[in-house]
Amino acid sequence: MFPRLKRLLLGSPLRTAEMHEQRLSKVAALTVFASDNLSSAAYATEEILLVLVVVGTALLHSVIPVAASIAVLLIIVVFSYAQLIHAYPSGGGAYTVAKENLGVGAGLVAAAALLIDYVLTVAVSVAAGVAALTSAYHTLFPYRTAIGVAAIVIVLLANLRGVRESARVFAVPVYTFIFATFFMIAAGLWRHFVEGITLPPPQITPETDLAAAGAGILVLRAFSQGCTALTGVEAVSNGVQAFRQPVVRNAQVTLYVMAAILGGMFLGISYVAFEFGIVPKADGSETVLSQIARIVFGQGIFYYVMQFSTMLILILAANTCFAGFPRLASILAGDRFVPRQLANMGDRLVFSNGIVVLGVLATVLLVYFSGSVHALLPLYAIGVFLSFTLSQSGLVVHWWHSAAPGRGWRLALNAIGALVTGAVLLIIAYFKFFHGAWVVVVAVPAIMFLFWKTRRHYFHVSMQLSMSDTVRPRLARHTVIVPVPATPNKVILTAIEYATSISRDVIPVTLNTDGRPREEILESWRKQFQDVPLIVLDSPYRAVVLPLLRFIQEVEDLRHDDKVTVLLPEFVPARWWHNLLHNQTSLLLKGALLFRPGIVVTSVPHHLRD
């Protein structure tokens, strides 16, 4: 049943030879790598406004300088990352760059931060995508968590099927979102400045007064919230290998174009929102972007195009992580820092285990935070800026040791990048700490601890399995214990035949649980198996597993220089549910013997007919 369902959902297995790399033009690459970054424009302005509105309308004008500051930060980060592309044309994630230049510890900090952020990106993007949908259809708002979970499941299954980052599929929603957003901004400016449309000032009840909150503090908090706009910048540098020749130039141009588009959209949305006096809805029932689209386009087709393209680009942003997380996890698995299963490719030539882990973790987060973007965002961005800072710092070290032309100005650029992103990291950590960022601050060292414990485990396993210092063992004697029922049957016949074929020391043992005369049991046994004496143990309290375990231990103690095998006769019913009708003594014994060193446990199945 399960294999059929698996084939239906995931498709037929692919041969390893079918794996191929996609080489992308700049236009196509933009759609593949930019969705995570560009989609941030959908919620970054709203997050800034959510901080500023706590003092009413007094600080709403700050949205423009805050957005402009973030745009400047974007320029610095993008120019820094362009140097990363130059230094690592084969693709250099923060883990690789930090590990190679700053040491394994720094690499693991970056890796932990990135893994957390991939999970958060999926949860945040899906939550924001669903918010775009529920803004258009308010009746769906109460079901936003369920819709979000369904979206994650769909993306998860699509990735398990091996839907590659197909530029052709991605192009439609990505370019629709870009054009729709710029069209909305242009139309919004036209309606405001040419048609003279203005809205009444927003009515907001301040939660606190400006003097108490402190204008500077609030602006910095708004800045830290808005920095989520920079998430996804690193995607291009991670995927340099996917570009057509010349890869470095093409990747850098794509990065600049992506930043220009994001900067334009983010500043435009922030400006239009400010001019129209749009503020986030207190109950979160409609996004700022939806409010702008509704004012600009009314309830017409363009409004729905805007909302659906927003939803789709956000889902695609989540999809990007389903490529990034498993790829990073597989690199870490190769270095033995995470379970090796994460390096295994599934039937469809994708890292299936990593995809499933990401899907499960993102779903848990989404459900825990009830699908609310605003509730999830305090956890976000801190990991991104941590990895920005580490990779930029790693590049400073890289250029320091490099003799490449232009190393001086590249080093300076990356040093500025490291300093600025480091400072922003501190700002984000400080202002978001008690709003949820503490979770990430605690989680990064906790994950690093797990990395080291995992690596230590693999090291110990490899030491114990190594044959370098092994003296070849002598041919040991072999004692086989066969637990049997008091009355022999065909299953026992099969088991005893097998046992006597592998050893001359076979000890069948049974438990007399119902007080039958011992001689009667022995007589019944001898009729079938004259050559193999049966040991009958009395069990006056009808215990089964414990007396058998004690007996096995006694034999093991006597034969501690030999191999001891416990051979379990089992019959296999024709239908799985028939198992419910039988004792599972073998299963219990297997479980109990699993952790006994020196004892081999073997099953001898006897298949029953229907």
Partner: protein
């Protein structure tokens, strides 16, 4: 493998000796291993299965008093091992 007759002879010799060592210990079975050098005695005291091994040559050559002493020390060693396991919480 022991013949039924030889097996019964062994049981008949050891059972009374064992009773005098520990009346609660019951002898269930005696086997000769595949090398034909080791005699394995399967006992039970209460719920504890006990397995004692001795050289078959010793069983044949020892006098009853010596065999009784060997049985007593073997039984005590196994009971001590069982107690140690109980104390250490290793008994499943």
């Amino acid at each position: 493998m022991l013949s039924l007759e030889r097996r019964n002879q062994i049981l008949q010799r050891i059972a009374p000796l064992l009773r005098s060592v520990d009346p609660d210990a019951h002898l269930h079975e005696a086997l000769l291993d595949s090398t034909r050098t080791q005699l394995v005695l399967f006992l039970q005291k209460g719920e504890w299965p006990i397995v004692i091994g001795m050289r078959y040559l010793d069983f044949v050559s020892l006098k009853d008093a010596e065999l009784l002493e060997r049985l007593a020390s073997g039984l005590q060693a196994r009971l001590d091992a069982a107690q140690r396991r109980l104390d250490a919480g290793e008994d499943v």
